[in-house]
Every structure is written in C-alpha cells, then in structure tokens.
Amino acid sequence: MNKFWIIFTLLIISLLPAFSQTGDKSYYVLDSVELTGLSSKPLLKAYHHFELPDSITGNLSLPRLLTQNTTIFVKEYGKAMLASISLRGTGASHTQIVWNGIPVNSILTGQTDLNTFSPAGFDRIILKKGGSSVSYGSGAIGGVVVFEDRIRFYKTFHLINQTKIGSFNTGLNNFKIVKANHKWYGKLNLQWQKSKNNYPYPGYQVSNENGAYQGLDYATTIGYHINNQHRIYFKSKLSYWNRETSRTLYMPQNAKLLTGNQRLLTGWLFQHRHLSAQTDLAYLYENFDYYPQKNNNAFSHSQSRIYLIKNLLTWSFDKSKKIMVGNEWQHQQATGDHINRHTRQNYAVFGIWSQQISHLTYQLKLRQDINSGQRLPVTGAVAASYKFNPHHSIRVNVSKNYRLPTFNDLYWTPGGNPDLKPEDSYGFEAGYDLQWNHSQLQLTAFYINSQNLIKWTPGNNGFWQPNNIEQAIYKGLELNTSKSFNINSKLNIENKTGIAYRQAVNLKNKKQLPFTPQLTGQNTLRIMINKFAVIYHYRYQGKIYTTTSNTKFLPAYHLHNVSLTYNYNRHFKFEIGINNLANAYYENVPTRPQPGRNYEFLINFKI
C-alpha cells in the first residue's frame, strides 16, 4: 500500500504541468553550443536528455548530484567511497562518462568511480539515456553522462568561491575563476575537500570508523581565438584522492585507497562556411594504490594510460541537412601488480547523417571499430523525432552498441580470460514530449537486449574467471516533468519530478539482476521568496535484490534533504542544509549505511 501511495503521489505531482498553464521560467537552459563536437546539442531530440542544474554543482559530489536530480541508481559503498552508476538497470560499466567529448571510463574496470570525478566547474552536465556507442564507443549501452567545459570569446570576468562545512568534520572549498575576452578564454576550477566522515551508523553501536577522505580536483580550460576560422584550446582535469575504506556493520577495515587521474586534452577547431573540422589529442592516466593496512607501506598498484586522437569533419548543406564523419584512434596500456603490461589499439570510423524535413527530423549513424585484440561488430543507430506542434512531439531511436572487455577482464592474474568477446547489445526507445508554457513532460519507454555479458564466476581451479555467459533484458518506463509558477516578481515556485520503473532480467533464471532497483522516484521543490530560497529534495528508492536468486534485498527507503539559501547581496550567499531529515537508515550496498541526519553550512562568495 505504501508503495502505491508513493507512486500515486509522484504521478499526481508529475502530471500537474499538463493541466497548468502559468509560469514563464524554464529550468532547462539549452542554448547554442560551441567547440565540443559530438557532445554538442544534437540536431534533433530523439533521445531523452536531462541537463543537470548547474547552479548547485559547485559543492556536491557526483553521486549526490545524480541521485538528487535524477532517478539513476548509484551504488555507493558508504559516503564518499567507491560509487558506480546504473542507468536503466544496466551494469556499472554500461554507462560511459564523457569528458569534453572524450570517454573516460577506466580501461581497467570499465567504470568511473563517481566519487573521484568532481562535477564542479563544468558549464554543462547532461545525462543522455539510451545507447550511444556510435558516438562514444565501448560502454555507452545504458547511456552517457556528458561533462562540458565551454569556451566563449567575449569580455567577461567572474570569480566564485564556495566554502562548505558540515557534520562529521567535513570541509570543502571550491574556487572558480573565469576570464575571457575576444581573443582569450581562461577558466580555473580548484576544489579541495576533507572529511573525517566518522558518522554513526543509525541504529547501530558502530560508526564509520575507517572512512576518512581527502580529495583535490584541479581543472583548467584555455581557449585562443586565432581568427574567425581557427581556434585552439586546451583542457585539463586532474584529481587525487586519498580515502580510507569504510568498515561495514560487521566487518572492520583498516585499508586505504589512493587514486590519481590526469586528463589532458588539446584541440583545434576550424570553421568556414559549411565546413567545420575539429581535431582532439587527449591523454588519460589513472592509478590505483590499495594499501591493505593503511599504516603499512605495502600496497598493490595498477595504472593505465590512453592516448587518443579524434578527428571530426562536419559539412552543413543547409540548415536542414548535415553530415559528420570522423575517426578516432586510441592506444591503451595497462599494468599493475595483478596485470602484466598489456596494450591494445582501437581505431574507429563513423558517420552521422542528420536531416530535417518539415516536422520530422532523423539521424542515421554508423560506426566500425577495429581493435587489435577483438573482432567488433558494426554499430549503428537510427533516430527520429516528429513535432506535431510547439507543444507535442514524439521521438524514437534504435541502436546497436557494444562494450569491450576491460584489461582486468582480459589479463587479471589469476583468472583473466584473453578469449573474451565484446558484449553486444541493442536498444530501442520511444518517447513523448509535452511542452506547455515552459512546463515540460517527458515519457519514455525503453527496451535493451544485451548478449555475451561478461560475468566473473568461480571456476574449479580455485579462482574466479570472466566469461561471456550472461544475457539480460532491460525494459521500463520513465516519466519526467518540470513546472515553474511565477506567482509574482518576488515569489517563484519550481517543481521537478522523475519516476522510473525498470526490469533488469537475467534470461537464465528469469530473476531481477542484483543491484537494480525496479522503482525509483525523485522530486525537487524550489520556492524562491525575495532573497530566500527553500529547496526540498525527496528521493524514493525501491527495494534492491542482493542475491541472484532474489532471496535477499535491501529495503526501500525515503530520503529527504532540505536547504535554505539567503542571498545577502550580490557577493554573498549563505546556505544551510539538512540532509536525511528523517534520520533514516539507508544503504545502497548491504551493511554499508549512509549517514543519518546531518548538517551543512555554505558560504558562497562571488565577484
């Protein structure tokens, strides 16, 4: 009964915009895009896009940003610990994190630890659901999360400094400065955070004893406008994390994990009449050092490097027709205590044709990868949207996608299986979009069929081995709405709701795959009165099975976060937040509770 009322209430809230016609402020800011090629705004809206609100990204972790604003499931091993994404019920390595057009998931694990990827300082973060292997290659099966630093050549200067202190000896400072003129663009974002993170486990005698962390994230963007045809740019994102590994309810821990990431990108953009060309050179480096005893010098190490060259060529026939062709070459190498040094090359060619015919827009995409160690299928996609009138449109897309085995899958000692094939998958989705005076509603149904999924299972030789043995079907419905009411010049109310229901079924035993909640829902209410703003985030997460037999599960939970912001003047803004207002016990991984009720205080200084 309880669950019924949750769904019912969320549905009612989400349907409000359809019946309401007031309000004039859109929550979505989708303006023109420059310099980022493939990750730019698509010609058509054949996919479900969701832009994360950027005004709050400066001081939140990526798991918090995603779970507060979307229905995505994030599997977080305790606050600030390892965190992986699950989109539409797919696995952690089935969503690609894309940084300025470059896929950055680890080639060792196939995933990105969301807690080591700070969302601060970006100009735009977009969650694009649905298969996108044509654009982003391996791993973009459930979708992609795109992070963009944009370069605009106009005279500007601004500086924002955010200082946050919170419960459990938590501190964060984020400094961002942007200076640009018609020739140069420069941006620096520097984030530092530290926490004892020793929160008590609600309802238990133990607390998060070994959970302290410290992180540093440094990002720059530099652009130079040579002339109207040529522009060059450089982008970087470096991060270093030192985290202890949280104990569980029943198992003490004394380990720590050091991770380092260096992501560098430089590129050149040429634009002349109908032609635009872009070349990117990128270097990605990651290292993990795991210390089983944090006070002992013994550790196990692994690292990987990627060198990447990407070329894009776009020819716009006129406003309604566009062709883009590109190629990409990657040299990947990995080494570590459990992996001998291995390398592989991946070369890809792809083409995307887009056209608009009256109310119909469509896109055809094709890609072929040639990998030094793998035979890869041709991937492709067909996508279309049809706009009946300014209010109603429908969209549909079908895509074929894949994921390469990771270096750990192939070469881990013991167990790595060099004979693994890539996972292959196809996906289909259809959606309906309603836009009414800045109110929006998006309804999407999806179906994904994945074959040859790589799964590690115990072998009789005493160790685990990965094999292409699992098949799964993921299907579900997603509903998103947003609505704003501008009552008067001093009072504005916005509400956004998301509900997602999905089944992730292992075809072998017809059971739900572990760690995929069937139902998640989220609501954000923002009330702005004069200089004050109250934000109330609510999240519902349905039960999550933790065994393949679906015999054990984590119970569903409700999470309430509220905050109050006061805009003192144009320089200072103060915010006080209470997270987990109901002091609920909740967890995304068994016996790894998240904090109970806790407090945050934020000072935002801006020039």
């Binding site: 029943y250 013991p414 009789n460 933790t546 065994t547 037999s549 016996t591």
Partner: protein
C-alpha cells in the same frame, strides 16, 4: 541416550497438540543438540553469514538458526565451527570474532573479540582449553599465532606464535597438527603441538599449500594443493603425504599428482580416504600404493567443501556465490545421493555434533 524428563515430555505433547510448525524432535538439550551444522560464509562484506542445521542424512534443514535464536546477524565471513562442552564456537573471520552459543538452543553466551586477529579454525584440546588458528595481518608472514581460549571463561588467555598461515587442525590423543596453508601467501609446513607439553615441538615439511588433514591409526595424512597455475613462484603439483606419527613424524609415503592437478578436501570414513580434484571425488584405500586412477563420483556442480563422516559424504556447493548454496549427502558405500537441501549463502565448514 538423552534423558527426557516427564515434565518436558508433557510440555512436548501439549506443544505438539497446539502447534504444527515444527516437526523436529526436540530433546531437553535443545533442538540443535544432535545434528550437522553448516557454516554459511555469506557474501563478502554483505554481513549475511549464517548457520544452518541439518540431520545426519540431510533430510531436513533449518537455516538462519543463529539469527532465529538470538535476533542478531551472525556477521561477515563465518569460517568454521567447533565444539567444547556443549558449546558451539562459531569463528567469524571477517567480523574478527567468535560467537559462543549453547549447542542445543543456539542461544549466544558471549562473543570473543579480544585477542583475535583474523581467526580461522577452532579445536578443543582439553576439557577447558581450545586453540584457534589466527593469521594476524594476512599479508604479514611473522604475526601468525594460535589463540589459546579458556573455554570456562571464554576468553583468550594466551598466544602461541606459529609459522605463516595456520589453517585447519586435527588431533589424536597426544598431538595436535596444524596445517600452514599460507594465508594470502603460501607455506608448506605442518606444525606439531604436543598436547602434554602444551607447546609446538616439531615442524614437518610437506608439499605446497597443505589444505586438509586426517588421522588414521598412527598415520597423519596431509593433502597439499600445490602452487596454482597463477602462482608467482610457478605451478607445482598437488601431493598427498602419509606421515608416521610414532616414528618422529617421518614421511612414510608420498603420492604425487600431475603438475596441473590441485586436489583438496581430504577426509576419511573408516579406512577410505576421500578427496576432490576438479569437481570429481576420488576414493582411496589407506593401504593403497598409488592414487586412484578413476573417480568415485563426478559432481554436477562445484564443491565448496567436502567432508566424510560415519558413512556419509557431505558436499556443499556455493553455486554462483550470489545465491543460497546447497548441501548434499552421499552414501559413502555406494556413492548414492541421499538428499540435497538449500543452505545459506556460500555454505562452507561442516560441524558434526552427533552421538
């Protein structure tokens, strides 16, 4: 025979009339007094270790008995169970503790935590003393020890340093033997603990990674898995050793496997040895001159543990390690499957508390 007093018998009849929930025969010693305990390790760091209880033939099984009796979770990575004076000692490696419970009721008496560091197996050596093999830091070769437990006060009262990676133990009237499988590393020793002198008197060098032992008459049998294919020091063959206890622990016979063969789970029923190699069960006479050429039984699944006792061979299967596993009982005389039941997650150690 267990004595059944009249009052109890009366109450049993009354309960029998009023409740049809339990068909287990209960004695005054408690419903879990006589039977076979299965220690379910639980998923790594999921805190779902549990204890199951079954009868000798595995015809019925009751799961989660520790949780039912005490209302609390057993912990993380339960490794083994041992008994002393009608008390069960459940060694929970991940939670770094030993739960001490009354065997019959499974009511928890006390939890031992102090003095333990990575405990593995429990063995009673006298009326009021037991030893627990402890790894210390599994990556540290120099901090392994035997924790001495006073089973009256249920406290760790001593600490006997031993070589790297002590694991399983077996004993006869004079000696306790400790196999040093090597924790996260590797070792090739069996330590001899003199039960009268109360100290380690000998160290026997055997093959790589001794994983299981049995005693038959005056001989100690030690099965060594050998170094696996991925070992940093190179793969070595499994070996079975027959050691003469009365002749200064000299090796009486060695049986060599092929280099790629890594046997495990040695146990004994009468004068028949049983072991597992690549999910095939082999049976061998203690007088045999060579290893058996053909298997005695081929398993459908994969064995996570195997133990023979009094005419029955028990085999657990963890399946995919992400769902409840199974325990099966086979007749040791004819390899017939008697029963299979669903136990808890990753069923491992099997403890016998039988008449």
């Amino acid at each position: 025979m267990k004595k059944i007093n009249l009052l109890f018998l009366f109450s049993f009849i009354v309960i029998g009339f009023t409740s049809c929930e339990k068909d287990t025969v209960t004695t005054d010693n408690g419903e879990y007094f006589e039977g076979v305990f299965v220690v379910n390790e639980g998923q790594f760091m999921h805190g779902n270790a549990s204890l199951s209880f079954t009868d000798k033939n595995v015809s019925t099984i009751e799961n989660e008995i520790f949780k039912k009796a005490n209302g609390i979770v057993l912990g993380d990575q339960a490794q083994s169970i041992g008994f002393n004076n009608d008390k069960a000692y459940i060694v929970v490696t991940g939670s770094n503790k030993i739960e001490v419970a009354d065997v019959g009721t499974m009511q928890r008496n006390v939890t031992i935590t102090s003095g333990l560091n990575y405990p593995r197996y429990f063995e009673t050596i006298s009326e009021n003393t037991a030893l627990v093999t402890c790894w210390g830091d599994p990556n540290d070769a120099t901090d392994d020890y035997l924790a001495v437990i006073n089973t009256t006060s249920d406290e760790v009262t001593g600490n006997i340093p031993v070589a790297l990676g002590p694991e399983k133990m077996v004993k006869n009237n004079d000696y306790l033997f400790i196999a040093h499988q090597g924790a996260y590393s590797t070792n090739n020793k069996v330590s001899v603990f003199d039960l009268i002198l109360k100290q380690i008197t000998h160290s026997i060098t055997v093959g790589d990674r001794p994983n299981s032992m049995v005693i038959k008459d005056n001989y100690l049998w030690v099965l060594c898995g050998g170094e696996p294919s991925w070992s940093a020091t190179g793969e070595t063959a499994g070996q079975l050793f027959k050691i003469d206890i009365n002749n200064n622990f000299t090796i009486a016979a060695t049986y060599d496997f092929d280099t790629t063969e890594h046997p495990k789970f040695l146990s004994i029923d009468g004068d028949k040895l049983f072991y597992n190699l690549n999910d095939k069960v082999y049976q061998m006479d203690t007088n045999a001159a060579t290893l058996p050429a053909t298997e005695w039984l081929t398993l459908n699944g994969s064995a996570y543990n195997m133990e023979a006792n009094d005419g029955i061979l028990y085999i657990t299967d963890a399946i995919d390690y992400q769902q409840e596993g199974k325990i099966s009982a086979y007749d040791t005389s004819n390899a017939q499957l008697l029963n299979t039941k669903t136990a808890g997650l990753i069923p491992g150690d099997i403890g016998f508390h039988l008449e």
